[in-house]
Amino acid sequence: MIADVTEKPTGFPTLRRMGVAGVLVSFGDHLSEPANRAALAFRAAIEAEGWDGVEETSTSLVSAFVRFDPLHLPHATLESRLSDLLTSQDWYAAPLPEGRRLFRVPTVYGTDLAPQLAEAAAEAGLSVQDAIASLSTVRVRVQTIGFAPGQPYLGPLPEAWDIPRQTALTPRVPEGALVVAIRQFVLFSVSTPTGWRHVGQTAFRLFRPESDTPFLLRPGDEVIFPQVAPEEFQNMRNDADGGATWEAIG
């Protein structure tokens, strides 16, 4: 859940081992704006170092992850380099990644296409109309990509959307489903069961394995999900980008 901390959480950052070939650098134990920025910036810095033996890097909401070959790059060496890099600057104050874009992804709210809008609005203490007004205008940021290929976690949503996941799973939501819980959206890149509530439906394909750029969104990108009428949905589906447009923002 989101807490708008403005200073470093105590006891962080931490450096922990994941299995025999991974190190996780965490900047907090809950999602916050500065910790999310720190994770993104720190990961970019590791990539820029280009250390031999590092095989891939990634981020989660508040952590940077390094997968490496421990037979080639000893744990002690990597961990000491990471520690040095950690102390080289205040990562919580780091700027967002470069090359970010703002996406506008047309979305049908409610109707048969997204049947849990009313339920989610009730959880948030909003009328359906107010819920749509809120969700369709808020500008959210890709906080991490994960779980499934190209699939973003986006936030923060306004306070009212600090609603829990459902206790039971929805057996299946389609690709392009926009779901909500704990002040975040997830936009599904595959058809999947979920505990999040299905409030909107897009025709946006996030994972395009046949393309030169198979993953459309990157952490740091921003997204707005403007409302469109359900009659528009078929047109959106006929468009390669589901009616979405995007522009560079820095």
Binding site: M18, G19, S60, G146, V190
Partner: protein
Amino acid sequence: MSLTVLACGPGTTVQDMGRPGALEFGLSRGGAADRLALAEGAALVGNPPDCAALELVLAGGRFRAETDLRLALTGASMPLSVDGAAVPAYTSFALRKGAVLDIGAARAGVYGYLHVAGGIVTPERLGSRSAHLPAGLGKALAAGDTLPTGPAPNGDTDLTLTPEPRLSGGEIRVVESAQSRHFADQLDRFQATEFTRDAHGNRMGVRMASDGPGFAAQGGLRILSEIVVPGDIQITGDGTPFVLLADCQTTGGYPRLATVIPCDLPRIAQAAPGTKLRFRVVTLDDALQAEAAFARHLKALPGQVAPRFRHPADIPDLLGYHLISGVITGHEEEHE
């Protein structure tokens, strides 16, 4: 050059070493569930170690050669025959154009690998031929599919290799991981528990059932969704461990008790439902030593391939062999 699928079980896919590098975009590496079996087969048919093979899951299949091919089967113990005549596993054999290969269901283990000299050369997607079904990449094979194969490297039939035993569960080595401290009071009980690989399992992970209470992270912990890696032992809501495998998701919200070391993952993947397993926590140093030994083993595989010793009575066409030319010396098993 190609091989046609006449019949195969559900979940039969093309697999290689997977596609590293897309973790940041939510795509796990995937690749063969038993990477050792992939390397063993490559050694038997003379392929580079990362060549794609067919991964068969519990069920076997039936295949027809469209050109003369050289093949080998590794991994799970599956009976095989060419045009009705039995052929040993872990041995290279010829499948002449038009000949039909039958592979039976696994008698032990889960994942069998059918290798073709030259490799399966279906188009690469994002740098790999591996199907990653949860990600919607590639597909499960079905009757009628024809698989292109690459130019075969030089090599012989009747070359054999002794597999590293790994089909019957046993002791699995794990290391403590980023969240193990939340299970500190349960690690001893975890190691003392005998687990049974239950019926729930696939290339994403397998469930480990046990008698007695389940496991739980301490202190009503709220753990943020975090990076997961293959081998992670995830504790689901009801306290049952799930060991994650090649096609696992890239992040997950369930706490992780420990992580299986990579060289013991083939043993997890090959544990058929009902197989008994135990877990033992080892130090990072011990784990690294085991990994180094495993890396040496993989590297040495091509040199361990040797001609199969066959008793003359087992050779139906003995007269066809040129005994006098010295091809059969009686010392084939001593080759390097």
